[in-house]
Amino acid sequence: MNENFDIENSLKGLKKETGFSTPDGYFDNLAHKIQARCIEETRVPEKTSLIQILKPQLAFISMITIFGLLTFSVYKLVIPNYSIKENISSIELNIEDFDYIDIEEEIIVDALISESDTSQLKEQEQEEEISDELLHYFIENHADFTTLLEYY
């Protein structure tokens, strides 16, 4: 098979030119441009310190830290403390349970006194119970009259 003949038949009438062109004077300055680029590419870079090498990573870490701090501050300022809120709401509920009346100072004081009285009474009762038990104990164990007197 004559390959070239086949191809000439297939692509008959077509010029063997691409039709592409270049800007005027393109090749005149090309060598100079390429050589300048080559020298630039092979220039030895200046020695860089560790900080300069790590600069992007350090910048990224500081950015994350600042952002985290800002977010935390905003959270603390804007969003209220839930435990205080719960207490307030329970107090509010308790207040709502009571019928609201104008409570005078005297009533409050009397209530406080009676509370302390009842507590004192309770203490006295407890003491009496103990002394009765002791008395029974001494009698049963034939304690001296003088011991009894000392105690009472």
């Binding site: 297939s10 077509l14 063997k16 270049t22 800007p23 060598a31 050589q35 680029r37 080559c38 590419e41």
Partner: protein, 183 residues
């Protein structure tokens, strides 16, 4: 002036520090146009060709000291230029991954209004037909049809067997013929 020296002499001059820049300048003078048109046929756009060409010669500048001379200098240059151009197209295609039209379609559509395309209607149709080929097949077709390169040279540059290149070229011609007839 660059033709005064053979490739071997240019390489020797380049490897000496005092004559490196001079040798490289001569290499540029000798091969810049050939490399440009080879790359241009692959990437089509002038600006892209300029970028790829510069990248190619930067690689040549960096690698020429280690060039083992197991092939011809121009074969080595062609290989670098081809790889750079194909890598460039691959990168462009990735950017167009989720686009409705692919990169080749974009190139094809922009050819008509390209200020650096002076071809007639038939040449425009031929370029569009070539753009419809897979990248490597396009390279094979361009090297054979426009540059009239021998299969042995192409085999060295593209690291592909002569048989595979012949088959690829044959298929490319058939596809182009069909495209031109259909359009």
């Amino acid at each position: 002036m660059s033709n005064q020296y053979s490739d071997k002499e240019l390489i020797e001059m380049f490897k000496k520090a005092e004559s490196q820049n001079f040798a490289f300048n001569l290499i540029l003078q000798k091969y810049q146009e050939r490399m440009y048109w080879h790359i241009r046929k692959i990437v089509v756009c002038h600006e892209d060709t300029d970028d790829v060409l510069q990248n190619t010669f930067v690689k040549v500048w960096k690698g020429l000291n280690n060039f083992r001379e197991d092939s011809q200098l121009y074969t080595w240059l062609y290989r670098i230029a081809t790889n750079e151009a194909l890598t460039f197209l691959k990168r462009k295609k990735t950017r167009y991954l989720f686009s409705i039209s692919d990169y080749e379609n974009q190139l094809s559509n922009s050819l008509k209004s390209d200020p650096f395309f002076d071809g007639d209607k038939l040449q425009l149709k031929l370029q569009k037909a070539i753009l419809s080929l897979p990248n490597k097949q396009r390279v094979v077709f361009n090297m054979k049809y426009f540059d009239n390169m021998k299969y042995d040279e192409m085999s060295e540059i593209l690291d592909t067997s002569v048989g595979a290149l012949k088959a690829s070229y044959h298929h490319a011609v058939k596809k182009i013929e069909k495209y031109i007839l259909d359009n």
